[in-house]
């Protein structure tokens, strides 16, 4: 690869700088662009850093960090404070042209930009500034386009190097340890280490190595050139070489030779490529060579700027580089990966059997977006659930934000936002990856009859609720009246969905999971063949567990749900509860839900009660799976209970079958005439029988 010329020397071939941009630089550039610069695309002064090579197999990079750019707080962009350099990073001035569009980036006149920077170096050489502050010899240029929506950055470095024509040749390039005598080598190493260890000189990348006739070496500043002459001293021009190649010096030598040649008119130059290992001078890695220069015509003339090269190649090709940092800069993606990592930690550390994927993919329908709904939504989000639908027909009232954790005062203004929609918005603000939907709708309730004009829309609401239950995997019944829970309980039993009910008293609560669908309900006229099969499987599951079907919220009811809100005082109408109750109940509801997902029998799981024989011997890692949890703040107590299915008005096979058979007519009857449900399920008889014992009146008639 090296070409030989007639004098026996090889054309001096330099290893280019390898640029490296820390992502902190792009972060700060984005911030600067967004907050300060706007569309201003004037050039920005930047600082680069490099250090001598410190490893025999890896070159050191020319690095840009976040400190390379002025911070947002600085007064003026045009005069930045030079960031502190140290022995590990010499600062080098540079300029950045960051365009506003991709087209403008590609349209930049790279040739003239390079020429302009080369001119600055040339002037620094001629005025002597390069002798005082030699880092300017490695002045650089960077062009970029920052796409701040996609977090992708196009960029291209240029390291201007003045071209010798004819090119310089090198004679005898070899490791420094072979060039120096043993004594000289020791002395040079010691002198270099001193230079590197002193705060005053550690970051000065160009220097003189003066070796006296007694082999004693000293390192001197470039400006001391005159005083190094004579006394039989050997003088080498040393520089920090970031490159590790054994046969090539690094890029900084190019402009160094240009300086030496034009300032001191030398035609042969001994140079030292200074490289290190583990913080100390490594003369085996460092190189010494002799360069032979033919001073080009016109180099005396300040005004005739020599040609320059230096655009960095991208994997050997003359094209721009691009980097996409969405994963580490896009706040949404950062939030998602942090939340995921947190959940995975639970799995690694405490519960390797956690089925996080199952939890996060379960679609949850929350009926009610009040105190319970808001808290349940937040807890589900904490468990990694992404798909939540909230249903509520109300608007956020002034009294809500303190207790309902998704709302703020803003939601109450101008009549109040719809709760379902405000809740969804709030969830997404907390965690952008939430796939939350709001449904503004009232749940039709038995005991709240509708006029004939309203029938159509009521049935439409029923149909809509039916679809919502069908399209989700789990339903949380979190409404504030008993009767509003009836239709959801029926629909969930019909569709065999995981159902969790939470209900609050003043200082007591109930959290329970509904049992699975009634077995006999599948034997009806409209049953699909698959239903029959699944019914068989259901029976098997039930038979296996040897258990009775667990009940729903209504299974222990003696009367059908009626209008509980009429003729009540204010404090009875709106559920006035101790504030701590809703969060407790909501948290238990979500934990119960996660338990069900982990139980091998899922919705068919039998109940497990907390007792001394059970504790510690539970097979499930998350613990027991109860049916009902009842708690009281009055005693700070909590118990688990079981209630098996009964002939209730919501989930028994009679009712479910009737719903499937007669659909709309059934619903109209149930909603407009609540005693219909009692009659249907035989509750009427039950009540009648119960009360008959004590009644002497034969004329007693019950509707």
């Amino acid at each position: 690869m090296a070409k030989q010329d007639q004098s026996g020397g090889y054309i001096l071939q330099f290893a280019p700088f390898q640029s490296f941009v820390d992502e902190g630089f792009w972060h700060r550039l984005s911030s600067l662009k967004l907050n300060k610069l706007g569309i201003d695309d004037s050039p920005i002064p930047v600082t680069g850093f490099y250090a001598p090579c410190s490893h025999s197999q890896v070159s050191n990079h020319f690095t840009l960090l976040s400190e390379s750019l002025p911070s947002n707080e600085s007064e003026q962009c045009s005069v930045p404070a030079i960031p502190r350099s140290n022995r590990n990073r010499c600062s080098v001035p540079g300029i950045l042209y960051n365009t506003n569009t991709l087209e403008a980036y590609h349209a930049l006149d790279k040739k003239s930009l390079l020429k302009e920077e080369a001119k600055k170096i040339w002037e620094d050489i001629h005025t002597g500034k390069a002798v005082e502050d030699s880092a300017v010899l490695s002045r650089f240029l960077l062009i970029s386009f920052a796409d701040l929506k996609k977090w992708s950055f196009q960029y291209w470095f240029a390291f201007p190097a003045l071209v010798f024509d004819p090119p310089a040749t090198v004679v005898g390039l070899k490791p420094a340890s072979q060039w120096f005598t043993l004594e000289e080598a020791d002395s040079v190493s010691a002198a270099c280490n001193d230079w590197r260890n002193s705060n005053l000189t550690a970051d000065i990348p160009f220097f003189l190595v003066c070796i006296a006739s007694n082999s004693h070496a000293t390192i001197r500043h470039l400006k001391d050139w005159e005083t190094c002459q004579g006394y039989g001293q050997k003088v080498l021009f040393g520089f920090y070489d970031p490159c590790h190649f054994p046969n090539n010096p690094g890029w900084p030598l190019r402009n160094f030779l240009a300086l030496i040649c034009s300032r001191w008119n030398l035609k042969t130059v001994h140079f030292l490529c200074y490289r290190e290992n583990r913080g100390f001078a490594d003369l085996g890695l460092s190189l010494v060579g002799e360069a032979v220069i033919t001073v080009p015509q016109g180099w005396r003339d300040l005004l005739r700027v020599p040609n320059a090269v230096g655009w960095e190649l991208n994997k050997g090709r003359h094209i721009s580089r691009v980097i996409n940092l969405a994963k580490s800069m896009d706040p949404t993606m950062l939030a998602i990966s942090a939340a995921d990592l947190n959940l995975k930690l639970m799995r690694w550390r405490a519960l390797p059997s956690l089925k996080l994927d199952k939890v996060s993919s379960t679609k949850c329908l929350l009926l009610g977006a009040g105190t319970l709904g808001c808290q349940v939504a937040r807890m589900l989000m904490a468990w990694g659930v992404r798909k939540i639908t909230l249903l509520d027909h109300g608007r956020v009232a002034m009294s809500n934000p303190v207790r309902q954790s998704l709302y703020t005062l803003d939601n109450c203004l101008n009549g109040g936002d719809f709760k379902a929609m405000a809740a969804v918005k709030s969830l997404k603000e907390i965690f952008p990856a939430m796939e939350a939907e709001g449904v503004v709708m009232a749940i039709p309730m038995p005991g709240h009859p509708v006029s004939s004009q309203e029938e159509e829309s009521m049935l439409e609401d029923c149909r809509r609720l039916h679809e919502l239950v069908d399209s989700h995997d789990a339903v949380f019944i979190l409404t504030d009246t008993k009767e509003s829970r009836w239709l959801p309980a029926l629909l969930c039993a019909n569709a065999n969905k995981i159902t969790i009910t939470a209900a609050l008293g003043f200082d007591s609560f109930l959290v329970m999971r509904h049992g699975p669908r009634p077995l006999n309900s599948t034997h009806d006229l409209k049953a699909e063949p698959e239903n029959a099969l699944s019914a068989d499987m259901d029976s098997l599951a039930m038979a296996d567990s040897g258990a009775e079907r667990l009940g729903c919220y209504f299974c222990s009811d003696v009367v059908a749900p009626t209008d509980s809100t009429a003729d009540r005082t204010l404090d009875q109408q709106c559920t006035v509860t101790r504030p701590g109750l809703a969060p407790i109940a909501s948290s238990l509801a979500v934990e119960l839900f996660v338990d069900i997902l982990h139980h091998p029998n899922g919705i068919f799981a039998d109940c497990e009660i907390a007792d001394s024989s059970n504790s510690g011997s539970s097979e499930q890692p998350l613990g027991i799976l109860p049916h009902q949890i009842r708690g009281s703040l009055h005693e700070f107590s909590q118990t688990t209970l079981v209630g098996h299915a009964s002939n209730c008005t919501a989930c028994c096979s009679t009712v479910v079958t009737e719903y499937r058979k007669r659909g709309k007519e059934f619903l109209l009857q149930a909603i407009n005439h609540p005693s219909y449900l009692e009659d249907l399920t035989g509750l009427t008889e039950f009540i009648y029988n119960e009360t008959d014992d004590n009644d002497d009146d034969d004329d007693f008639v019950k509707l």
Binding site: D22, E23, G24, V58, L334, S337, W348
Partner: protein, 147 residues
């Protein structure tokens, strides 16, 4: 976020991964005032400066390190903002550190020479933590102290 004060140590290294790709790693040891132990922060990136994801970093770990990471109950990786740079870095979570550090210093002879114990603290800490990331303490660091 724990309030951190001192940046003890900075270490860089390079890994030849497959397909001639080179990965670079930065390791920082930072003192955590809230846990009162040193904490190892690290991040990896490729030659373009693109940060590596955790699964890519795990591929770079030597096999025995990956094993330690998986099996030991005292070491696990979380992602957190670097206390100085405010960029997301990975760190070895410090909550178990004081527990296993106590085990290392149970030797009464060591405790007697309390000065030595303090100097050895970081080296001892690193001898455990280093295993997780596949770095070893050079023997010279330990030998010099014991005498």
């Amino acid at each position: 976020m724990p309030h951190c004060t001192n940046l003890f140590f900075v270490l860089c290294c390079k890994v030849h991964s497959n397909h001639h790709e080179v990965h670079y790693y930065d390791f920082h040891i930072v003192y955590s005032a809230s846990y009162r132990v040193p904490v190892l922060y690290f991040r990896g990136y490729d030659s373009d400066g693109l940060p590596l994801q955790l699964n890519e970093i795990e591929k770079d770990l030597p096999a025995c390190s990956a094993k330690v990471l998986l099996e030991s109950k005292w070491t696990f990786i979380t992602q957190e903002e670097h206390p100085y740079f405010n960029r997301p870095w990975y760190k070895l979570h410090p909550c178990g550190t004081s527990e296993w550090m106590k085990l290392l210093f149970l030797d009464e002879a060591v405790l007697a020479e309390s000065k030595v114990a303090i100097e050895l603290h970081l080296v001892s800490w690193f001898s455990v933590v280093g295993q997780v990331i596949g770095l070893r303490v050079p023997i010279e660091m330990v030998n010099g102290r014991i005498n």
